[in-house]
């Protein structure tokens, strides 16, 4: 944020102020520079073009074919893979939209929790107190473990017979026979809960940095005006956090829509196919059953949904000149 500001503020200054010695002798430098920047960029651009730009286009091309990796013929079928996804009695329809629904449910519950709970934690930690850095590290720690580790670990803790979670629930006098990984809605609670546990620290750390960027004078001014803690939160903290909030919302949204590993390892998509997410379905269709045309079409439909949601987030957090 600071850098962006500096940069924006710096640009006109650079134009206005007479440039030190460099400018006059910079004809030579400039001539050099014609090729030089591209030489610096070349190694990255090779990777970027080959494994990001080309695949984006190639994927669209694949989605217009019946593309079975294991067969020599890949007939062009136009938009058939897409129309199939929107035809209720087609092969892919129920599996795909079932998985979209699973992703939707997961996103609907995990995103709000991952926005609010880490903010609460960050607010508790905003002021200096003994042990603050230790707490910050502990909350962040699960995030450095991969989804494979946390998946296998929580599969054990959530085991319906011998798991720690059911055991302690029993000690508290609560039901101790919940099938966390094989029945809904318990499986959703498990998937969302584990994800919150896993990534809460990541969001909290970003919030915390954002909170520390809000000038203390703003709070002081608000207090002078007689604002209580809640009013300070609404009128100082939230507006001050706006760029951070939009970043966290966007990254959390993208991560949730891309959920795969938790479901793959904790519930294997079950019971039935209920917790099989869109990513799970796409990967399985394309890379297990090798119906790549269909899977590519699914990935573009999912992308359109995600882009629409991202735009909505941008719109919600847009800079408003006149609040209210």
């Amino acid at each position: 944020m600071t850098t962006l500001k500096e940069k924006e503020g710096g640009a006109p200054a650079r134009k206005g102020a007479p440039r030190p010695s460099g400018r006059s002798s910079s004809g030579e430098i400039r001539r050099q520079a014609a090729a030089t920047p591209w030489l610096f960029l070349a190694p990255y651009l090779v990777l970027f073009v080959a494994f990001v730009l080309v695949p984006i286009v190639f994927g669209a091309w694949i989605s217009l074919h019946t593309w079975d990796y294991t067969r020599p013929l890949k007939p062009f079928v136009g938009l058939e893979n897409y129309t199939e996804l929107f035809t209720p009695d087609s092969r892919q329809f129920s599996n795909f939209w079932g998985s979209m629904q699973a992703t939707g449910i997961f996103t609907l519950f995990s995103v709000p929790l991952l926005l609010v709970v880490p903010l609460a934690v960050a607010l508790l930690m905003a002021k200096k107190f003994p042990g603050r850095n230790l707490f910050r590290a502990i909350y962040f720690a699960p995030y450095v473990l991969g989804v494979a580790v946390i998946g296998v670990m929580w599969r054990y803790l959530l085991d319906n017979n011998i798991g720690l979670v059911n055991y302690y629930l029993g000690l508290l006098g609560l039901p101790n026979d919940i099938n966390w990984t094989t029945s809904t809605p318990a499986a959703w609670v498990a998937l969302v809960g584990v994800t919150v546990w896993w990534t809460l620290g990541f969001n909290a750390v970003i919030y915390l940095a954002g909170l520390q960027d809000i000038p203390a004078e703003l709070y002081e001014a608000a207090r002078m005006d007689g604002a209580g803690p809640w009013q300070q939160f609404v009128n100082v903290t939230i507006p001050g956090l706006r760029p951070v909030l939009s970043f966290v919302t966007l990254t959390t949204l993208i991560a949730s829509v891309n959920m795969f590993g938790q479901s793959y390892l904790l519930t294997q998509g079950g019971p039935g196919r209920e917790t099989r997410t869109a990513i799970y379905q796409i990967a399985d269709t394309g890379l297990r059953n090798f119906q790549m045309g269909s899977a590519a079409a699914m990935s573009y439909v999912l992308t359109v949904f995600l882009m629409a949601l991202s735009l909505l987030v941008f719109w919600l957090f847009r800079e408003r000149k006149d609040p209210r």
């Binding site: 610096f40 080959a50 930690m125 699960p142 473990l145 929580w154 085991d159 951070v244 793959y264």
Partner: protein
């Protein structure tokens, strides 16, 4: 359990006993609350470690115990025994090799690309940067199918190259390094220019030495990302000898559904390097993450 809570709070308050005396009741309450939450965050990991040192029967006994009885290395011995179809040492070596090479590739290519984007003026600069940043919003799933075919065409399927190279085109890395290079003073290269240095020398002799902390942070984040990546390796590495730890753990899970002693030992093996990195370098990791957010 409650005793653990007390020791934890006591321990965190202890080093600053003087301050503790001055603490207001509100702050104390806050610390107790945060300590309780911290317990939820740390105890699953501790239980994972504890279970990895349990015997097969002890790992599934009720009530669950927090102390292995007997203390047993059987799970590790069984995992490390030669001739299994779950060669965890091999997975570990593969993960290490892939993550180090991937991380190096990301840091080199991203720093080089970020330099002209931050500190040179040339035609096409804005477009190149805009396209790179725009791909941050492209969900990776869209790349999975076409990249699978590309990797297969290149003969990289079922080899470590498949998880080292294609994911190294890190838009985040370029963005991150560019932000850092922009923050350096404008006239840094001036002296070198007068001495007749070319752009490449300015980059390697002046800019890079200053960028070490940023590069270390990016290297760490790239290492962690590659070490923990799951979906892509699960589908492009299929034989045990070439797998890395994440798909390996998944294989281990499907082969030994309720051998929780084995599974937890495997999970510990996969966690040790990243937890060690985190303990020693957490400042870099946390600062890297928070900086990326604030500047986003």
């Amino acid at each position: 359990m409650s005793s653990t809570v007390e020791t934890r709070t006591a321990r965190t308050a202890e080093p600053s006993a003087k301050q503790a005396r001055k603490l207001q009741p509100g702050t104390l309450l806050k610390i107790v609350l945060l300590a309780l939450v911290a317990l939820i965050f740390i105890s699953p990991v501790i239980f994972m470690i504890v279970t990895s040192f349990k015997s097969r029967a002890d790992a599934t006994s009720i009530p669950p115990s927090w102390i292995p009885n007997p203390f047993s290395l059987d799970a590790y011995k069984e995992l490390l025994a030669p001739g299994t179809n779950t060669p965890i040492l091999r997975w570990f070596a593969n993960s290490m090799l892939a993550a180090i090479l991937h991380s190096a590739l990301v840091v080199v290519t991203a720093s080089m690309a970020a330099y002209p984007l931050a500190r040179m003026n040339f035609r096409g600069k804005k477009i190149v940067f805009a396209v790179i940043v725009a791909t941050l919003l492209v969900p990776p799933v869209i790349l999975v199918i076409p990249n699978y075919l590309l990797v297969s065409e290149l003969g990289w399927l079922n080899s470590l190259v498949a998880i080292i190279v294609p994911t190294a085109a890190s838009a985040f890395g370029v963005f991150f390094m560019r932000q850092f290079f922009i923050s350096l003073p404008d006239d840094l290269e001036e002296a070198a220019r007068i001495d007749g240095a070319n752009r490449f020398q300015m980059f390697t002799r002046i800019i890079l030495p200053l960028a070490k902390p940023a590069m270390a942070t990016l290297a760490l984040l790239a290492f962690l990302g590659n070490w923990n990546d799951f979906l892509w390796p699960v589908y492009v590495l299929f034989t045990p000898e070439v797998q890395t730890l994440p798909p390996g753990l998944s294989t281990l899970q499907s082969a030994n559904a309720v051998r929780y002693d084995l599974l937890m030992a495997g999970a510990v093996v996969a966690s040790v390097p990243v937890l060690a990195l985190f303990v020693f370098l957490q400042r870099f990791i946390i600062e890297g993450v928070s900086r990326s957010g604030v500047k986003g």
